[in-house]
Symmetry: C2
Amino acid sequence: MFSSLKRFLIGRPLKSEELGEQKLSKTKALAILSSDALSSVAYGPEQILIVLVTISAAAFWYSIPIAVAVLVLLVALILSYRQIIYAYPHGGGAYVVSKENLGKNPGLIAGGSLLVDYILTVAVSVSAGTDAITSAFPVLHEHNVLIACVLVTFITILNLRGITESASILAYPVYLFVLALFILIGVGLFKIITGQVSPELHSPIGTPVAGISLFLLLRAFASGSSALTGVEAISNAIPNFKEPRPRNAARTLMAMGLLLAMLFTGIVFLAYYYGIVPKETETVVSQIAANTFGRNFMYFFIQGTTAMILVLAANTGYSAFPQLAYNLAKDKYVARMFTMRGDRLGYSNGIIFLGITSILLIILFKGQTEQLIPLYAVGVFIPFTLSQTGMLVKWIREKPAGWGLKLTINFVGAFISFLVMMTFFITKFAQVWPVLIFLPILVFIFHKIKKHYDSVGEQLRVYNQEPVLPVEGNVIIVPVAGITHVVENTLNYAKSLSVDQIFAVYVSFDREDEKRFEEKWKNWQPDIRLVTLHSYYRSVIQPLTKFIDTVEHKARESNYRVTVLIPQFIPKKNWHNVLHNQSSILIRTYLLYKRNVIVSTVPFHLKK
Amino acid sequence: MFSSLKRFLIGRPLKSEELGEQKLSKTKALAILSSDALSSVAYGPEQILIVLVTISAAAFWYSIPIAVAVLVLLVALILSYRQIIYAYPHGGGAYVVSKENLGKNPGLIAGGSLLVDYILTVAVSVSAGTDAITSAFPVLHEHNVLIACVLVTFITILNLRGITESASILAYPVYLFVLALFILIGVGLFKIITGQVSPELHSPIGTPVAGISLFLLLRAFASGSSALTGVEAISNAIPNFKEPRPRNAARTLMAMGLLLAMLFTGIVFLAYYYGIVPKETETVVSQIAANTFGRNFMYFFIQGTTAMILVLAANTGYSAFPQLAYNLAKDKYVARMFTMRGDRLGYSNGIIFLGITSILLIILFKGQTEQLIPLYAVGVFIPFTLSQTGMLVKWIREKPAGWGLKLTINFVGAFISFLVMMTFFITKFAQVWPVLIFLPILVFIFHKIKKHYDSVGEQLRVYNQEPVLPVEGNVIIVPVAGITHVVENTLNYAKSLSVDQIFAVYVSFDREDEKRFEEKWKNWQPDIRLVTLHSYYRSVIQPLTKFIDTVEHKARESNYRVTVLIPQFIPKKNWHNVLHNQSSILIRTYLLYKRNVIVSTVPFHLKK
C-alpha cells in the first residue's frame, strides 16, 4: 500500500542508465535555476527605497546610481561565475572553488553557509508567496502556515519526481512572470516617452538632499543587492545540464544575468519616475502596475505571476541543495546518505531533508520568515566572496592565457561581494549575528563527521591491518519461552550447525513454574542443556544478558564465538504482530549493540 | 538517561514477591475505589432538577420520591454486588459474572462496555474537574485541554508508581470531600430544624403539577441514577484487597454505599428545601453551599474539594480498567500485553493505554466531554443489568442455602438496572445510539483476537502435531558491500559453522565496478564463491531477495536451511548510526517477515 502511494506520487522507478535523459535543456534549466534570482526583482528595488525613505522622498533619485552599482556587481558576479563554470565543469560552485583554492575551512564555511541558505530560501520564499496568495484571499489568512507547508510538500514531491519533470511544470510560471514584467516595463516606458506620465512626480537626479550619508547609501546598496541572491545556483548545478555541460550552463547563466539586469533596471527606473513611496500595505511592483494599468486584468496578471514566482523561488534551493549536499557527502563532511540517488535519480535524501527542515522553520516562525531575510542575504555573500577570492588565487597560481583579465573580473567580484558582506555586518549586525554562531558550529560538525568516517574507514580497511583472527569454535544460546514448535524448530537448526555447545535458557518469574519447566524439558529435549534463570523483576533481558556475559567472557579467551538464536514465530498477517510481545526485537537490538555476540533470528512462519 | 527518568517518575522496580505489600487496606481502598461513585453526588441531584425544571419549579417536590427510587436502586445494587463479591472472590465484576452464567457474548458485551466506560470516566471526570478549576481561575480557561492532559498524565504516573502509593496520596482529597459535604448537610439541617430557613421556599410534597408525565419522571429517574456510576468498581478490584479479600471488599462496598446514600439524600433534600433552581452558571451544590454559609471560607472549601474529587473520579478507572483488561487478556480476548505486571507490579500496559486513549478523547472533543455523559451512563447500566441477570441464573442453577433471598435481591437489581437502561435508550436515544454501533464492533474484534490466539496456540503446540523435520544441511548467504574487516569477520564466522555452501553476494550498480570487485575478490577470498548481481534500480534488496528465493527454493526440496549472515559494524557512539546507511536493518526485517530464511547479524564492534 505504501509503495503504490509512492508510485502514484513520484512515478515508476527509473533505471540508472536513464540518467542521461534526465538532463536539463537550456530553456528548462533557465526556468528551474533562475526562479530564485528573478523573483528577487519583486522585492530588491523596494529594499533600496525603504532605506532611502528614512531620509526623505527627495532622496529617491539615489536609487538610480545605487541601481547602477548593483548592476556593476551583477555583471561582475555573472562574469566571475561564468569563469567558474568553465574552470569547474563538474560543478561545485562556492564549496568546491573555495576548498580547492583557499583550503578546507574556507570551503566548509562557503558550503555550510550555502546549505543553510538554501533551507532559508525555501522557507522565506514559500512564506512570501503564501503571504501574496492570502493577501488576495483574506479568508485563507489564518491558514498561512498550513498553506506554506502544503506548498513545500508539493514542491518536494515534484522534485522527487525528478528534475526534468519539475522543470516542465515550473517553466510556465517563470516565463509568464518574465513576460508580465516585460509588458509592465514596456508599457510604462511607452507612457513615459509619450508624455502620459507627469515628470513632476520625482525629484531630478542630482537634487541635493540633507542628511544623506555614505553609511546610508551603503546600506541601501546592500539592501538592493539582496536582489542578486540565487545567481550562484547555476554554477552549483552544472551536472544537471545536457552535454556540452559547461557551454550550456554558461549560456544559461548569461541569459539569466541579462534578464535579471533588464527587469531590475526597469523596475527601479519606473519606481523612480513614478515617484513611488514604499508602503506597508502594498508592494512597489503592485504600485507600479496599478499606476500603469489601473486595477484591470493586466494588474492581476502581474500580481498573480509574482506570487507564483515567489513560491517557485524555493525550487532553486531544491536543485542546488541536494547537489551541494552530495559534494559535501562525497568528501565525507555530511552523512553518506546524501550521495544516493532515489527512484527517480534525484538525490532524494537531500530533497526530503530540505523539505522537512524548511517546513520546520516555517512552523517555528509561524510563517513569518521575513525576519530571516538579512540572515539569508549575508549567507549568500559569504560564499560569493570566498569563491571569487578562490578564483583569484587560482589565476595567480596557474597563470593561464589571458589571466590578467580573468584576475581583474574575479577581483572586482570578490571586492564588491566583500564590501556588501561587510556592509551587512556593519549596518544590520542585530539581524545577522547568528551567522557568527552557527557557521563555526556547522564547520565543527563537518569536521567531527569527517573524522568519524575516516576512523571507520581506517578500522575496516583490510590491507593495512592484521587480519581478523579465525574462529576456533562456537557456542549457541537459545532463549526459550515454552515447549513449542517454534523452539523445536530453532533447536533443530542449532543442532544442524554442529557447534561445540548449545544452551537453552529459560527465564522464570516464579519458582514453581521453574521446576515444572525443568521436568518437562528433561522429557522433551534430554540432550540439550537447559539453564533456568530466575528473574526477580519480571525482566527477561537482565538475567539473560548476565548469563550471556558469563558465557561470552569464557568464549573470548579461546576465540570462540557466541551466537544467540532467537526463536520467533511470524504471524501470517501484519496486524497480528500487535498481539504478540515484541520482546524478541528488543532483545535482538539490545544484544547486537551492547554485547559482542552474533544475533540470529530463526523464524517459524505460521500458516494460518 | 531514559531509564533514570523512569526511575525518577515511577520509582525503583519492585520484586515480584513484594506484591503482597502492595495490597490495599479498607480505608485506602475506599478512597481509591469510591471516588467515582462519591463524586457523582456533585452532579446527580442536579440532573434530576434539570429534567423537572422543564415543567415548573412546583414539580421539584418530585425529586424526593425520585431520590427514594434512586436509593432503592442503590440498595439493590450494593446488595447485589455484595453477593457478587462473595460468589467471585477472585474478582471479576460484570465481565466474569456475565460470562460464567450467561455465556461468552453477554460477558464480552459487559466487558467491552465497561472497558470503553472506564476510558470515558477518565476523560469526562478530568474535563469536568478542569472546568471547575478554570472557572475559579478564568485566565487559565483557554488552556483547558492542556491542563486536562497534564492532569491525566499526572494520574497515570501516580498509578504507574503503584496502587498503594496512589491510594496514600489520593485518600486525603476523597475524605476531605466527604467531610466537607457532611458539614454542609449537617449545618443545613441544623438551620432548617432551628427554623432559620423559610419553609416558603419550596412547594409541599404532593402539590399537584400540571403537565407531569410518567415519561418525564422516568427520565428524571434515569438522570438521577447517573449518580450510581462507579459502584461496580469494588467488585472488579477484589484482587487488590488485603486478605481476607472478599470480606474486606464487601465491607468497603457497604461503607461506600452508606456514604453515597447519605450524601445523595442530604443534597437532594437540601436542594428541595431551599427551593434551588438549576442554573447554567452555578452548580446546585454551589448554590446550597452559598445559601448555607454565604461565600466564606467554608463555601470555597466545599467548592475546592468538589473540584478535586471530580478529577480524582478518574482514578477509579485506573484501578478497574487494567484489572478488567487483564481478565479479558487472560481469556485471550485482548492483546496479551495487558497481562504483564510492570516495574511497580501494576498492570502498566493497561494504565498507559487508558492514559493515552483518554488524552486522545480529551483532545478530540477539545475538552468538552459533557456530550459523552449519557453514553457513559448507559455504558454502565448495560453491564449492571447483565451481571445481575447472571447472578439470577446462578442462584436458579445452584440453589444454595437461602437462595430465595439472594434471588430476590438480584432480581430487583436486574429489573431496576434494565429499567434505567431502557429509559436511557427511550428518552435519550439521540445521544446513546453510538453504543449500538461500537459494542458489536468491539465484540467482533474480541472474537477475532481470540481466534488468532487459539490458532497460534494450535500451531505451536508440540504434542498433538507431527514434529518439525530435522534439518539436513545448511546454506549460508553473506551480502557483502566491500572488502573490509567487517566482511572478513563475517566470513570467518561462516567458515567456522561447517555448512554445505557459502555464497558471498555483491550487488553492483554499474558494470565496471562489478568487474573490478570480482577481480579483487579472487585475490582476497579465492575459496568463497562470489555471486555478483546487477541492480538496475539502485536497490540492494530486490536483486538480493531474488537470489535468496532461488537458493531457498532449491534448499527446501532437500530440507536444507538458508541462513543470511549480515555483516554489520557497530559504531562506538549511538549518534554515529545516523551517519551510516541503516539498510542492514531494512534487509533483516524484510527477509525475516517475507522469506523463510534465518537472518543473522554478525556485529563488528568499532573500537574508536
